[in-house]
Assembly symmetry: C2
C-alpha cells in the first residue's frame, strides 16, 4: 500500500467539490488543503510552530532550491528535511521541473533531461527524472513529485503534445528510479491549454497508477477562465480515490474555483510573497498597507479577521513598520495572509460537509470581489 492515501469523506451534490483526508507518514490532513510554500526549507519569516498553529498540515519545499543550497545530500545527513527544518508534519517536494522551466533561456531541454544554470552562481547543472528522484529521496518529503516538462504559455498544439508525451516517458523513468517506501510519488499531468491534450496526458498518467496526481502547467500566465476550463477537462479523468493537486495556485478566488472542480490540494507562494510586499488579503479585497490612507487608521487590518495580527495591531502600526522596513511587518502580514487562506480552506471543507458549498462560494466571492486577471 502506498505511504500516502486519499480518503474521500463527502462530495458536494452540485459541484465536483469534495472533502477528504490525506493520510501521510507524518500525519493525516483534512482536504481540500492549502500548502504554504517553504522554498528554502523555511516558510519565509515564520517558525514551523507558527505555521502549524495557523492550521497548516503540509508544506511544500523546493527540490531545485535545496539541491543548489544547502545541497540535498547535506539535508539527508541532517536526518532529512523534516528534522533539518524542525517541521514534523507533512512535506511535499516539487520535482524541480517548474523551477527549471522558469529559468527560461538559462535551460536546455533534451529527452535525457534538462541542463540549466544556477540562478545563484551561474554554474551548470543537469536534472534528469532519475536525478530529481535521488534529490527528493534524499530530502525525504512525504510526497515527491514526478519530474515533468512544463510548456510555456502560450504553446502550440504540437509543442504541448510532444511535451506531454515526454512528461509521460519521464514519469515512467521516475517510477523506476523511485525506491523510497516511506515516500509517495505523485504524477503530474500536462497538456498546455489544449483540452484534448489535457485529457490525453491525464489518461496516460492514470495508466501508470500513481497514488496521487498533480495538475501542472496551469497558472503560468493564462486567463483564469482558461485555467478553469482545463481543470474541467482534466479532473474527470483522474481516479476518485486519489488526491488531485493543482500546482502553484493560491489566490482566494482560484482556490474556490479549483475546489468546485474537484481539486484537493493547492500550493502557492502568493500569500507569503505578497505579504513581504506589503499586501494583505482581506474579506473585502486587498489592502496595500503602505498607502497613505492608512497612516492614521487605528482599526485592524481586516475587521472580520481574528488572526494574531488583526487582534493586536492597527493598520497605522503595520504601515509604520512597513515604511520603516521592519522585519516584524513581513511576519505580521504573512501570518494574516496564511490565516486567510488556511481559514478559507477550513470554511470550504465545512461548507462541503454541510451541503452548502455553492452558497458559501458565492457569498465569499461577492464580498471579496472577483479577480479575472491571472
Amino acid at each position: 500500500m502506498p505511504p500516502v492515501q486519499y480518503e474521500l469523506i463527502k462530495e458536494c451534490p452540485r459541484t465536483k467539490a469534495r472533502a477528504g483526508i490525506l493520510h501521510t507518514p507524518h500525519g493525516s490532513f483534512e482536504t481540500p488543503i492549502f500548502m504554504p510554500v517553504g522554498t528554502q526549507a523555511t516558510v519565509k519569516t515564520m517558525t514551523p510552530e507558527e505555521v502549524r498553529e495557523l492550521g497548516a498540515g503540509i508544506i511544500l519545499s523546493n527540490t531545485y532550491h535545496l539541491y543548489l543550497r544547502p545541497g540535498s545530500e547535506l539535508v539527508r545527513q541532517a536526518g532529512g528535511l523534516h528534522r533539518f527544518m524542525n517541521w514534523p508534519h507533512g512535506i511535499l517536494t516539487d520535482s524541480g521541473g517548474y523551477q527549471v522551466f522558469s529559468l527560461g533561456p538559462l535551460r536546455k531541454i533534451t529527452e535525457e533531461g534538462v541542463q540549466f544554470k544556477s540562478h545563484i552562481d551561474g554554474s551548470t547543472h543537469f536534472f534528469t527524472p532519475e536525478k530529481s528522484m535521488q534529490i527528493q529521496m534524499d530530502l525525504g518529503a512525504d510526497i515527491a513529485m514526478a519530474f515533468d516538462e512544463c510548456p510555456p504559455y502560450p504553446a502550440e498544439f504540437e509543442y504541448a503534445k510532444r511535451s506531454l508525451e515526454m512528461t509521460t516517458r519521464w514519469a515512467k523513468r521516475c517510477q523506476a528510479a523511485h525506491t523510497r517506501e516511506d515516500q509517495a510519488l505523485f504524477g503530474i499531468t500536462q497538456g498546455g491549454m489544449h483540452a484534448d491534450l489535457r485529457r490525453e496526458s491525464a489518461r496516460q498518467l492514470v495508466d501508470l497508477d500513481f497514488p496521487g496526481y498533480g495538475i501542472g502547467g496551469l497558472s503560468v500566465g493564462e486567463p483564469k477562465p482558461l485555467m478553469y476550463e482545463m481543470l474541467d477537462v482534466t479532473v474527470p479523468e483522474l481516479p476518485k480515490n486519489k488526491a488531485r493537486y493543482l500546482m502553484g495556485v493560491g489566490s482566494p478566488d482560484c482556490l474556490l474555483e479549483g475546489v468546485a472542480r474537484g481539486v484537493d490540494m493547492f500550493d502557492c507562494v502568493l500569500p507569503t510573497r505578497v505579504a513581504r510586499n506589503g499586501l494583505a488579503f482581506t474579506t473585502h479585497g486587498k489592502v496595500v498597507i503602505r498607502n497613505a490612507e492608512y497612516a492614521r487608521d487605528f482599526e485592524r487590518l481586516d475587521p472580520e479577521c481574528d488572526c494574531y495580527t488583526c487582534r493586536n495591531y492597527s493598520r497605522a502600526y503595520l504601515r509604520h513598520l512597513y515604511k520603516a522596513e521592519e522585519i516584524l511587518v513581513y511576519r505580521l502580514l504573512t501570518i494574516h495572509n496564511l490565516h486567510v487562506l488556511l481559514n478559507l480552506m477550513r470554511n470550504i471543507r465545512q461548507a462541503i460537509l454541510e451541503d452548502r458549498f455553492v452558497e458559501y462560494k458565492k457569498a465569499f466571492l461577492d464580498k471579496y470581489g472577483q479577480e479575472n486577471h491571472s
Copy 2:
C-alpha cells in the same frame, strides 16, 4: 511620589552589585535588568510576546526615530506607545540626545538646543529640552530621559566641562517642561572621561532630585577599562534609593562589570544588531554562523543553552538560512542573543541574592573570554 520607584533588596558584600525591584506604572521588574532596544517601536524581528517570554520586562524605544517616523503625535493618537506597539509592560524612551550626537556633522549645538538633519530625508529639525519632553510625553513611556549633550570621545577637559554644565541646565529645563504624572523623568550624568567632571555632573544632577539616573557618554569608543573607571567615580555619587542606568552597554562582560560597580539597568542594540549580522553570543564566546566550518555541524548553536533556537535547530540549518538570506535566521539569532543576555541578568541577580556574585562573575568570564576591546 514619583511613578517609578527603585526598591533595594540586597547588596553584594564584596562589590557594589545590588539586586532590586523597579516599580513602574506597567509592572515591577527585577534588577539588575537588561532592556532590549525597540528603536522604531519594535524589537527588531520579534513580536512583543516573544520578547516578554524571553524574560524582558522593560524595553527601550527611541525618541529621535519615532519623532521622525511615524511622528510622536500619531503615537499619542494611537493611545501611546504601549498600545501602538502592543507591549503592555515597561518602556523607557531615550531623549534623542545620543542619536542627535551620533549624527555628527549633521547637527549643530547651541544653548537653546540642537539643530539636526533627518537621516531619512535630510530635512532640518530642532530639538530642545522642552521639545524632547513633549515628544516623550506623547509617546507615554514609563520612564523618559532628560535631554543631554553627549561629548564625543576623546573630548578635552574644557569641552567636557562646558558640556556637563549645559547638560545640567538642560536637565532643569526638562524638569520644568515635564508634566506627565504617570511618567518618571530620569536625569543623565555626563563628564566625558574625566573623573572630576564625572563626579561634578553626578552631584549637580543629584541636587535636582531625579527619581533615577542615567550614566551617559560612555561606550562611545573608549577602552573598556576607562569606562569602568568612570563608573567607579560616578556611581558612588548617586543615591542608593534610586535606579542607576548605564546607557548603551550590553556585551556580556560589560554587563557583569557594570553590575559589579552598582549599575541596575542597561540597554544596548548589540544583541539584536549582531544577530542580524549572523553573530551569536554563546557561553564559549562568539559564533559567526556563516563560517564554512558550520556547514555540516548538526549540533546546537550553544550546547549549554536551552533557548528556542538551541532546542530546535542545528548550526548547519542556521548557516543555511543565513546564506539563503532567510528572515527566520535573524529571528532565531535574535532570540538566542536576547536569551543569553536576559538569562545572564537573571543569573547575576540570583548570585547576588545568594552572596556568590564574585564567584559567578569570575566563572562566567573565564569561560566566555574577556573582551578588552570596546
